[in-house]
């Protein structure tokens, strides 16, 4: 694996009123890896995603994507550059079909806008067809192509979570940020999801993964970064992080030797 950074957070601080949700966080995600971001509730994990995707403007620090600063970039431009995400609480377009959900995302790279669509230019027709093929292919890849024509709100919960991933992939990202994709899954669903995430990585995407399930994390991550109260307290191979006393303390709330 190369050590070429796709995403770099430099001294990132995010303050909400009196709360420092992120405090001087440094993080590097390398191309082609599955990097896990863990930490207790309220540690600031989702906030990392929000800051990276432009939902919040960081109080301090910098985010580099492929070496370029994301400062001042619009949310939709950040997505277009190659960063896609899912949401901790499923936020699909419920009244669109699964396919349309993904299509909305594949549209990012489409060149024809309203005028082209209005006059059905050959390019718009071509792009529309290509978009549909691609969206359908992604649904197949994720394994929910049989749901293509169902409204997202009518999908079973697990498929909604998978559709979120499919929609994120629709934007053809370089890095994909998954926010607790296995939340509410049973063990066998979790196992299938872990395999899917590896498959996604093998397809060439870089993955930054927030997850609470340790066994899932340990099984598939190349690297694990740990946040606690907005600060990064560890960043290493899964096996090393697992035995880091600070991490154990953060999770158990007591010093490691005391337990």
């Amino acid at each position: 694996m190369s050590n070429q950074p796709v995403l770099e957070l430099k001294n990132l601080t995010m303050q909400f009123g009196g709360v420092k949700a992120l405090n001087q966080v440094n993080l590097q995600v390398n191309r082609g890896e599955i990097c896990a971001l863990i930490g207790p509730n309220g540690a600031g994990k989702t906030t990392v995603f929000n800051v990276v995707t432009g939902v919040y403007v960081p109080t301090q620090g910098e985010i580099l994507f492929n070496g370029k600063s994301l400062k001042g970039k619009n949310r939709h431009n950040i997505t277009k550059m190659g960063i896609a995400r899912t949401f901790q609480n499923v936020r699909l377009f419920g009244e669109m079909t699964s396919l349309e959900n993904v299509l909305t995302a594949t549209d990012v790279h489409s060149k024809s806008g309203l005028i082209g669509s209005m006059f059905t230019t050959p390019r718009s027709r071509r792009e529309e067809r290509a978009g549909r093929e691609k969206a359908y292919e992604i649904l197949e890849f994720i394994g929910i192509d049989h749901r293509a024509d169902q409204l997202a709100k009518n999908l079973p919960y697990g498929d909604q979570r998978r559709l979120e991933i499919a929609r994120a992939m629709g934007t053809s990202p370089e890095i994909i940020l998954l926010d607790e994709p296995a939340a509410g899954f049973n063990p066998s669903e979790k196992k299938a999801l872990a395999e899917l995430i590896v498959k996604i990585r093998d397809r060439g995407y870089t993955v930054l993964l927030i997850e609470h399930d340790m066994s899932l994390i340990m099984g598939i991550s190349d690297r694990v970064a740990v946040l606690d109260f907005g600060e990064k307290i560890a960043d290493d191979l899964p096996s090393v992080v697992q035995n880091n006393p600070k991490v154990i303390e953060a999770y158990l709330g007591v010093p490691a030797d005391a337990s």
Partner: protein, 341 residues
Amino acid sequence: MSINLRDSGATLWANANKWQRYLIAGAVILAVFALPLLEGTFLNTPSTPFEMVLFYPIGVYVLMALGLNVVVGKSGLLDLGYVAFYAVGAYTAGILSMHTKLNTWEILPIGIALAMLSGLVLGAAVLRLRGDYLAIVTLGFGEIIRITALNTSAVGGANGITNIPNPPTTFGLKFDLDHPRSFYWIVLILIILTILVIRGLSVRRPGRAWESIRQDEDVAELMGVNTYKYKLWAFIFGASVGGAAGVLFASKAMFIAPNIFSYNVSILILAFVVFGGMGNIWGVVVGAVLLSYIPEKIRFISDARMLIFGLVLIIMMNLRPDGLLPRKKREKIGVAGEKSK
């Protein structure tokens, strides 16, 4: 009942092949074009000849409802100043006919362009606001346009503009008081064009962008939709339709004045959209036809028209927020075949 009607229509359409579809569409269009022939039947309206009612209010309002539907129904942007674009179209016709020799057909594109321009200006200014603020600001904009017209003597002030010429005779069709059906046919052509364009846009990128904005604007933006741009397009598109309606109206009525373009018109059109079914083209058409025809048919309603429309808004929102013919409530039929090939 209405849902079933809608669904059986949709099923019929979905199961038809290409030629059958042309046949159905052709027959329906022909029937609608032939409506003026029903003058003198049970459809007759007591105070205004049926043929005239077909053009105004029905035709003009259906057209405007279609335009507003893109803004409110498809994109979820509550525009309470839609009348402003109608006014811009009508006043363009009025002013240009005062100062130039241009005929209606030459004025039409100018009116549309100016309406689009005002849509662009208004949209660029206010579309960063959300929901309710947008509603109030657009309402304010509509009033600004009206009051400005009221206080500008160059456009006749409160007296408005009179003697706006009818369109010239075209393809043997005469356009004047004795030939109201010509106006109806013209507005019908515009309605059909608008429906075709909206249908086309709906299944392509702009339609998805609008839909995603309506459902969850934040997420849409994060999925790469340039929400500002597409909201602006929705506004501009709606404005162009409103502008066209305004030019046609002026050329038929031959007279315009600021009080024609009051806030009530915006509410009227909103009621059509809401009654028929926000976001659904056919719902909106049915809503606009019914709600603009009934007050003409039943005289005593016409003074209480706005009152009834207010009630329509309350009742629909509380009991049937998706309108008479809701947008697709179920899975689309027949699309799977197209892309799984």
